[in-house]
Amino acid sequence: MVLMKQGDNEYPGIKIGLEIHCQLTGLQSKLFCSCFCNYHGLEPNGNICPICCGLPGTLPLLNKTAVESACMVSLALNCKIPDNITFYRKNYFYPDLPKNFQLTQYNAYGITSIGVGGSLKYGEKTSRIRRIQLEEDPGRLVYESGGVDFSSSYTLIDYNRAGISLVEIVTEPDFTDPKDVRVFLNKITSIIEHLGVCNTKRQGSVRCDANISIQGGKRVEIKNVGSFKEVEKALNYEIARQKTMSMHDIKVLAETRDWDDARKVTKQSRAKEEEQDYRYFPEPDIPTILLGEEYVSSIRKNMPELPYERKNRFIANYELSDHIAQVLIDNKELADFFESAVKIYSSPKEIANWIVTELLRYTDDDITEAKITSSSISNQSSSLFAGLKIDPKQIAELAILIDRNTINRNTAKIILTQIIKTGEMPSQVLARTDVLKIEDKIIISEAVESVFNAEKSAIRDAKNNPNVANFLLGKVMKLTKGRADPKITLNLIKTKLDGLD
């Protein structure tokens, strides 16, 4: 395949639109029945009832809290909320669909979806939101081989997920660069996390389909992208593929492609290519839901703080820089961590710096991501700090120790490298300071530097006397009270001596 160069995406006429599905994991029950919203870790088909199984004669009972959550998402994305909303049936046959139709919303015969005509700013750019709709999730097909391999000889159906509330966010095709898509999706993640409507770390809680076309080509839809992180990769791959095709004068046809998470390629979807007619019509069993101005303003009034509001508060109350505040609010977990630490010890600037410039170095987004996608049935939420034993009170104490001049920043950095592994408090580490080994090259270099400055005559002999290096090592060890790593130190000394020639 073609290798992508940096900036290669500035190709004319790239158009990307997104369909983002978020499960409303903050709810207690499903969208139309009282089965649990959290189906993770339950026996297959252990979270079902006559309603979500579509047994004959059952009727949907709309979860009002789901409407409230969807309304909040719509308001956060600057959508208009119609005075009344309705549900539509989307008719198609598929074994994971208990009724062989999906209850969703539809705007072709008048606006009936919960949100419409919104927009979201990300950085300097803005993307328009076409509509936001509330709908039910289908069940889950489990293939014999355990994956989504169609070659399995039999298929199992688990309806535990059937009827879970989904909010679908549909954007206009306003994106021109996959990088922007990533920034946008991070923004969406932070918003729904802040609203408390969706725990994006729960497996399968957010999914994204993307459609993409390049100049002169038809629109290709990429489905089955299991996490937001993968969307950018899938789009980059698809752009390269489509460009290669057009370079060789092969027409890009309208089609649906699946993202192969393992091989990192898109491949033609097995689904038929003919345009499906979903025969939408209004669901007769759910009466029109009247919302109106009063409803919307009461939702707005009781809405949790949004990321941009939080950022402004961080800047105003904690005097953080725009950049630091932005980094914090881009991930709700980080912002929450920060505020918890500040509550323990009110030194916001110091704490924010420690989090953003130091702590974040140890969190690896890709590792976190891999953990989420590889665990097939996981009840745990994967945290940003997964694998680290870090708690706000540790960072708060670090700030206290620095403020009291008990330790300097360099020592604090060393302490941090230890406590994230052990979960100890900084003061505990400090108490047995003699075992504190210095491995940080920068700190050791500083010590080496000062020894070099003090021992000018010895250094002059160094060329002829091979023992000088060991002599200098002894000096550095003395200066650092024996804490410097001898191997690293000796290497640094040798390098420095060699450099003198």
Binding site: P56, T58, R89, F101, Y109, F281, P284
Partner: protein, 482 residues
């Protein structure tokens, strides 16, 4: 012992409460009656002997021990087989649901049980309630108890015929476009289609959700009212129930001078013998001090097309779920690719059901949605508005229930349009959501004629007043010899 099975629900209830006879004695007679006449009428398709006897004994024990008993204590009731009964097969008279045993009771069934009614079994119908003669049943057709060569009407043919044949005192049917009123009229009993949103549909296996209601069939108006008091009212399981009260309070007053409109188009469109009866009903009301007028309705001629478009559209979607994966009949999916399996099992629907699924799918397809479905909805709105303005001037409207007399088996089964046409008088109430009742109005060549009375939404009281006034001033046989 006298013929207990012939008693009306009210008489049964009074007799059991006063100790004149026991519920068990009565139920044994009912079961014997079913054994005797059902082979002729084929109204009951599943008899719950054990359940009925157990419940009868429970009622008797409650009475003996002076415990509180429900208002329907001891009354034998039959349930149309598209209404879910927990633990008792509910088939919709379809091969598709041959083995289906619901795990839950419909709200109406639960309420009947709570009020100590005795459910004797499930009643025949056109497959999935699609038909007007109960000829489209996988259990075979139901015969008219007045003449077994004739159809009982449909789709609730079993519900009407079982009451007329005294196989139960009262029954429940469902009415999507006349499915309660048509057979009730053909069998000379009383049948009510309540206002849309008065009775919970939870547990009614849907044919066309926006049109249908569950309603009672009985030998008298007061029997029908008695059942309505139990089944009507708000239900947490059905968001389309519009009333907030749990039990309606129906009290009769025949003193008020009713303003009555006779719908000319419907009355003149009926067979001469039938329209004659409706005009004489108007004369009767006039003599009873009601103010009667002939009125005209503009949208009647579009009603049937509108009705069938909407009903089939909804049906095509409602019936999608029958893929035999989760429930249905005995046929395992082992070895089939799912598309092939769906195609295979869905061929189990009967011809009439297939016809309606195909037409419904067609009118909902994106190319024809505007041309058919949306237009049908527009007609529906206009019809609603027309009725609303009529009900400002009139308390009730009267018309024939059926434009024709009961017909012989096979007479219309090969011509779908002819079969659809017989619903012309009844679909109006379903499209508009208003209540309508049919009461026996006489006979022509020994075949029954029904008078239809319609009122404005949630004005069941007016219907009952008028129906009772008519009933008490006429004397029409409701018990055929069998």
């Amino acid at each position: 012992m006298s013929k207990l099975y012939k008693l009306s629900a009210k008489e049964v209830n009074t007799g059991i409460r006063s100790g004149e006879f026991t519920a068990e004695e009565y139920i044994i007679q009912i079961l014997e009656r079913i054994d005797k006449v059902n082979p002729k009428v084929n109204a009951v398709i599943c008899i719950d002997r054990k359940g009925a006897l157990e419940k009868a004994r429970l009622v008797d024990r409650k009475i003996r021990e002076d415990e509180k008993i429900g208002p329907l204590a001891g009354i034998a009731i039959g349930i149309k087989d598209n209404i879910c009964t927990s633990g008792l097969k509910t088939t919709c008279a379809s091969k598709m649901l041959e083995e289906y045993v619901p795990p839950y009771d419909a709200t109406v069934v639960r309420r009947l049980k709570d009020d100590d009614a005795i459910i004797i079994g499930k009643l025949n119908l056109d497959e999935f309630a699609m038909g007007s003669s109960t000829e489209f049943s996988s259990f075979g057709p139901t015969s008219n108890p007045w003449n077994t060569d004739y159809v009982a009407g449909g789709s609730s043919g079993g519900s009407a015929a079982s009451v007329a044949a005294s196989e139960c005192s009262v029954s429940l049917g469902s009415d999507t476009g006349g499915s309660i009123r048509c057979p009730a009229s053909f069998c000379s009993v009383v049948g009510l289609k309540p206002t849309y949103g008065l009775v919970s549909r939870f547990g009614l296996i849907p044919y066309a959700n926006s049109l249908e209601q569950i309603g009672p069939i009985g030998k008298t108006v007061s029997d029908v009212v008695m059942i309505m008091k139990t089944i009507a009212g708000a239900d947490d399981n059905d968001q389309t129930v519009q009333v907030t009260y749990r039990t309606p309070d129906y009290t009769f007053s025949s003193n008020e001078k009713m303003r009555i409109g006779l719908v000319r188009e419907l009355t003149e469109g009926a067979e001469p013998e039938i329209s004659k009866r409706i005009y004489s009903a108007m004369d009767l009301f006039t003599n009873l001090d009601c103010k009667c007028e002939e009125i005209s309705m503009n949208y009647v001629e579009y009603a049937l097309a509108s009705y069938y478009t909407i009903a089939m559209a909804e049906a095509s979607s409602n019936l999608s779920r029958y893929d035999n994966i989760r429930y249905g009949f005995n046929f395992a999916p082992e070895g089939y690719e799912w598309n092939a399996y769906f195609a295979k099992v869905r061929s189990n629907f009967g011809d009439e059901v297939k016809r309606r699924i195909i037409v419904g799918t067609y009118v909902l397809s994106s190319a024809y949605y505007g041309k058919y479905y949306l237009k049908a909805q527009k007609i529906r709105t206009m019809l609603k508005q027309e009725l609303r303005s009529l009900f400002k001037k009139y308390d009730i409207l009267i018309a024939p229930t059926m434009p024709i007399l009961p017909f012989k088996f096979g007479e219309k089964i090969d011509d779908p349009i002819k079969m659809f046409m017989v619903d012309i008088d009844t679909v109006i109430a379903n499209l508009a959501g208003v209540p309508a009742i049919t009461v026996p109005a006489g006979f022509s060549n020994d075949l029954p004629i029904g008078l239809q009375i319609m009122a404005s939404e949630f004005q069941e009281q007016k219907l009952f007043n008028a129906a009772l006034l008519f009933e008490s001033n006429t004397n029409i046989n409701r018990s055929p010899e069998l």
